[in-house]
């Protein structure tokens, strides 16, 4: 973000808020997202979703900032952030791996694909590796059963996966 834009946003502040600056740059990004939604409490979920997609997770500092600027109680934000699976209160990797465990994928060997992913990345479903590269999740159906077993990585769908192909696919992600 260039300096002019930062100044402009700072001038436009309607709500009182202190910049904690605990996470470098995060507080500015959160401010920009909140300003985009005109500081409206009704845009709470939209604001949280945008922070989630930019930052991959919702740190406590960001939630405090949102609570203060949108004038929404923190309990309410916590309730929403824990209710929807789209939000994460723990750090997530840059690429989310979703291994489909639906019926069609299951009978075509999804379990073996999952085992291979676990071995290659060193993480179990629900976990994130230490370099924040991958987060692993299992899902129940991705909706393209004819392509099974399906693995979705960072939004891109990889169909007809096999344990042997997995290493080649994962190699492409940094």
């Amino acid at each position: 973000m260039d300096n002019d834009r930062v100044d402009q946003i700072t001038d436009n502040h309607k709500c009182e808020c202190g910049h904690s600056g605990i996470v470098e740059g995060l507080s500015d990004r959160v401010d920009r997202i909140i300003d985009k939604h005109n500081c409206k409490a009704s845009s709470l979920i939209q604001v949280l979703l945008e922070i989630q997609s930019e930052n991959h997770w919702l740190p406590k500092e960001a939630l405090d900032q949102v609570a203060e600027r949108l004038q929404v109680p923190l309990t309410r934000i916590q309730q929403i952030a824990t209710f929807y699976k789209a939000f994460s209160l723990v750090p997530k990797g840059r690429h989310g791996i979703h291994v489909c465990m639906g019926t069609a994928c299951h009978v075509r060997g999804a379990q073996r694909v999952l085992d291979t992913v676990e071995n290659l990345t060193g993480i179990k479903p629900g976990e994130t590796d230490l370099d924040l590269k991958f987060s692993l999740e299992t899902v129940n159906c991705l909706g393209c059963c004819a392509l099974g077993p399906v693995v979705e990585i960072g939004g891109k769908t990889h169909g007809k996966m096999a344990p042997a192909k997995m290493a080649d696919v994962l190699k492409n992600y940094e």
Binding site: P73, L74, T75, R76, Q78, Q79, T82, F83
Partner: protein
């Protein structure tokens, strides 16, 4: 404000139009069991225990009295075979969460509910929301709220607010129909002041 006349358990009761069936019954001295109702708070309808049978136009239906506004000529039955059966079931389900809650055990005796009917899954919280709503509506502190959803839903204090406000308040403790709240508070205190935890 016009008065509305309705019949509760065969007694003519007058109520004003903002009242709910539960309030009208309480005014007439008819008791309806409740867990999540509190006179200072907005009706919530979480525990479903205050359910009553309504008769109108020859049909009967079940509604929760704490949310249902009074209507002219309503015929309400606070106890009937059907109502008792459902209340017994609700109690048995709640008791699997909080088997040792005194309020629930008293009601279980009255309705013949068996606390061992369902496998125990003691979370100790029956999600009545009294603490959460009291903190938000009466105290306006919002130190406690619900987190997660479905079977994992539970109450949670915000440690920063709790450490500032709760020590001198604790007004939500006596509201809890089980003892879950106190446990949650002890936990929040332990998180907020790791050094002072007993």
């Amino acid at each position: 404000m016009s008065d509305i006349v309705l019949q509760i358990d065969g007694i003519e009761v007058t109520a004003n139009e903002e009242m709910t069936v539960l309030e009208a019954a309480q005014k007439a001295g008819i008791s309806i069991p409740t867990l999540c109702h509190h006179e200072k708070l907005e009706p919530y309808g979480a525990c479903r225990l205050c359910l009553v049978e309504l008769e109108s136009r020859g049909r009967s239906r079940l509604v929760v009295s704490c949310l249902y506004p009074v209507e002219k000529g309503l015929v309400v039955k606070t106890r009937s075979e059907k109502v008792d059966r459902i209340r017994k079931m609700i109690l048995e389900l709640l008791l699997s969460h909080a088997p040792d809650a005194f309020d629930l055990q008293d009601l279980a005796r009255e309705y013949g509910a068996d606390k061992y009917r369902f496998a125990k899954e003691p979370s100790f919280c029956v999600h009545c929301g009294l603490c959460v709503r009291y903190c938000a509506e009466v105290k306006k502190k919002e130190a406690i709220g619900f987190v997660n959803r479905g079977t994992k839903r539970e109450i949670s204090f915000i440690p920063e607010i709790a450490s500032r406000e709760c020590w001198n308040c604790k007004e939500c403790f006596p509201l809890c129909p089980t003892e879950a709240l106190q446990a949650a508070y002890v936990l929040a205190k332990a998180i907020a002041f790791p050094a002072t935890a007993e």
